[in-house]
């Protein structure tokens, strides 16, 4: 496929099934999802609201167990949080009582290892946050907070980065900037990235493959390869190929929704306790 990408599977999701016990009974969030993510690949997961994207990602991270099926990292089952896997959350999720330096130090405090200062300074430089170590999250813009969260997530050199709608709360310009930043960092580190997003454009810009999930219970509906060379420019995003691919994915997501809820407006009213 693409340059710099080996054929070894990094993360394997095998028949992942997850049932939540809710007050109104059991809720089948994802149903026999299987997915293979290669080493150094960027894979996006898109799908309608409440299709279990976040549940799938949390299972990959080991934050959640599965009701059935399993997740393998380098062939070994993931049974809990793993030092090789790092999460980026929906909001930046910085700890407001710590300044940036202390926030970035947080994973090392928990793990009880010494931080790699040189690497962290390099990351801070790259995202343009050098000299902001003494600032508190409340003093930073949303984009800066999310950049700090990115630095924190990459600070201990995980081999897998799981991103749960990381840029959903940002304005579209900041979002594009963040996308470029992620690609830039990826070109250097070749970290395997799984990204959940609501933006098909973001998914196409960043990913080697886009996974479309069906509405609840979430299943892998289809997988679209994105065969554009990197680094991708904003001009590529304006080509007909991208436009067609965007449309195809959009159609697919809307199509599954329509088949399930004949009145598209009605789908808005469906209870969706699962975000993502």
């Amino acid at each position: 496929m693409l340059a710099g990408q080996s054929k070894k599977p990094k993360l394997e999701v095998l028949n992942a099934t997850k049932v939540y016990n809710t007050r109104s009974g059991d809720l089948l969030a994802i149903d026999r999802c299987s997915l293979e993510i290669m080493e150094g690949e960027i894979v996006s997961i898109v799908g309608p609201s409440g299709c279990g994207k976040t549940t799938l990602l949390w299972s990959m991270s080991g934050l959640h167990g599965l009701s059935a099926g399993e997740v393998l990292l380098d062939g070994a089952p993931v049974s809990g949080p793993n030092a090789d896997i790092s999460m980026v959350f929906q909001d930046a999720n910085l700890l407001p009582w710590r300044n940036l330096a202390a926030n970035i130090n947080f994973p090392f405090e928990i793990k009880g290892v010494k931080p790699d200062r040189i690497w962290i300074d390099e990351l801070l430089n790259r995202v343009g946050l050098e000299g902001f170590g003494g600032r508190f999250p409340g003093e930073l813009s949303g984009g800066m907070q999310q950049r700090a969260a990115l630095v924190r997530a990459l600070s201990f050199k995980p081999s897998v980065l799981l991103m749960d709608e990381p840029f959903g709360a940002l304005d579209s310009f900041t979002r594009e900037e963040m996308n470029r930043l992620v690609e830039e960092i990826w070109l250097d580190t070749k970290t395997t990235i799984v990204l959940i997003t609501h933006s098909i454009e973001e998914a196409i810009f960043l990913s080697d493959r886009v996974v479309v999930m069906s509405p609840r219970p979430g299943r892998v509906a289809s997988i679209h390869p994105v065969p554009f060379a990197r680094p991708r420019s904003m001009e590529i995003m304006a080509t007909k190929e991208v436009f067609d691919l965007t449309n195809a994915i959009k159609q697919e997501i809307v199509g599954t929704q329509v088949s399930r809820y004949p009145n598209p407006a009605a789908s808005q009213d469906q209870p969706t306790p699962v975000t993502g």
């Binding site: 939540y20 016990n21 934050l63 959640h64 929906q90 700890l95 405090e109 928990i110 999250p137």
Partner: protein, 281 residues
């Protein structure tokens, strides 16, 4: 673990009832800052007018000293009788600090532990509410019967008055669970204890300060009240003694000392909150 997991949810803020108290805290701690020399001047000017005006009015209408002494008489009494009052201030401080230390420690530990077990919390909460709402002064006569006229009944009363205050506020703080932040810590492999110290405790800190502030002021009230009930020492005892002797300047001097004590407590926790919990505001 698989079936009992909570559905991952992100709101970006805590989904707890603690926010009312937090607003309290920021209301308590975010008084308007003084901006210029002109404001300082205005504040001093008003104070001079109020105190000086009282002085003049009380003199002009020849209000007798036993009704309301002049500010100057109070200050004279405060200075000249301070050596007599100081030991009593010391006694009151011992009762306050001793009782508050016991009450706050027990209250904090109880809050931290009880909030980890929602069921136990439900059982204990009514009693805590009872302790919060019942004036502990009511128990002082009983405590004196049992423990005599020394420090003990007063320290116990202060602990009983301040502990539940600390506990109920701290518990509100500890209940402010932000699943996102806990998930963050867990994703790095944090243990339950690490989650407590690195996530739950700092999140609870602003409410803990509120509890300590309210609890210590309640403690001061109770200490002074208990001293008025019985026993031969303490600032509360001075109040009853001076008023029975109609030594009004001395009486008001003690009242002033008590006000200062209250303000000191407030400023202390204000600064503490500003230093360690300012991220909340």
């Amino acid at each position: 673990m698989s079936k009992s997991d909570a559905i991952p949810q992100f709101k970006g803020k805590s989904d707890s009832p603690g926010d009312v108290g937090i607003t309290n805290m920021s209301a308590l701690t975010s008084g308007p800052g003084i901006k210029s020399a002109r404001e300082v001047l205005a504040i001093i000017l008003v104070a001079v007018i109020v105190v000086g005006g009282m002085e003049l009015l009380l003199g002009f209408f020849e209000v007798p000293q036993y009704v309301l002494p002049k500010p100057s008489e109070i200050i004279v009494a405060l200075v000249s009788d301070f050596p007599l009052i100081a030991p009593h201030l010391g006694h009151t401080l011992v009762e306050l600090l001793g009782g508050f230390a016991i009450g706050a420690t027990v209250g904090l530990i109880l809050a931290a532990v009880i909030t980890q077990f929602p069921f136990a919390e439900k059982i204990v909460t009514p009693y805590i509410l009872l302790l919060v709402t019942t004036p502990m002064l009511a128990l002082v006569p009983l405590l004196i019967l049992r423990f005599g006229f020394g420090y003990e009944p007063r320290i116990i009363a202060v602990a009983l008055a301040s502990g539940p205050m600390v506990m109920i506020n701290a518990a509100t703080g500890f209940r402010r669970v932000d699943q996102g932040k806990i998930a963050l810590a867990r994703s790095y492999g944090a243990s339950t204890l690490q989650i407590f110290w690195k996530i739950r405790a700092p999140m609870a800190l602003p409410m803990i300060f509120v509890g300590l502030m309210v609890g210590s002021i309640f403690g001061l009230l109770t200490a002074v009240g208990a001293e008025m009930v019985g026993g031969g020492f303490g600032l509360g005892n001075r109040l009853t003694s001076y008023s029975s002797m109609i030594l009004m300047p001395q009486f008001f001097a003690v009242v002033m000392i008590l006000s200062m004590l209250g303000i000191l407590i407030y400023v202390f926790f204000f600064l503490l909150g500003k230093k360690y919990a300012s991220w909340e505001a």
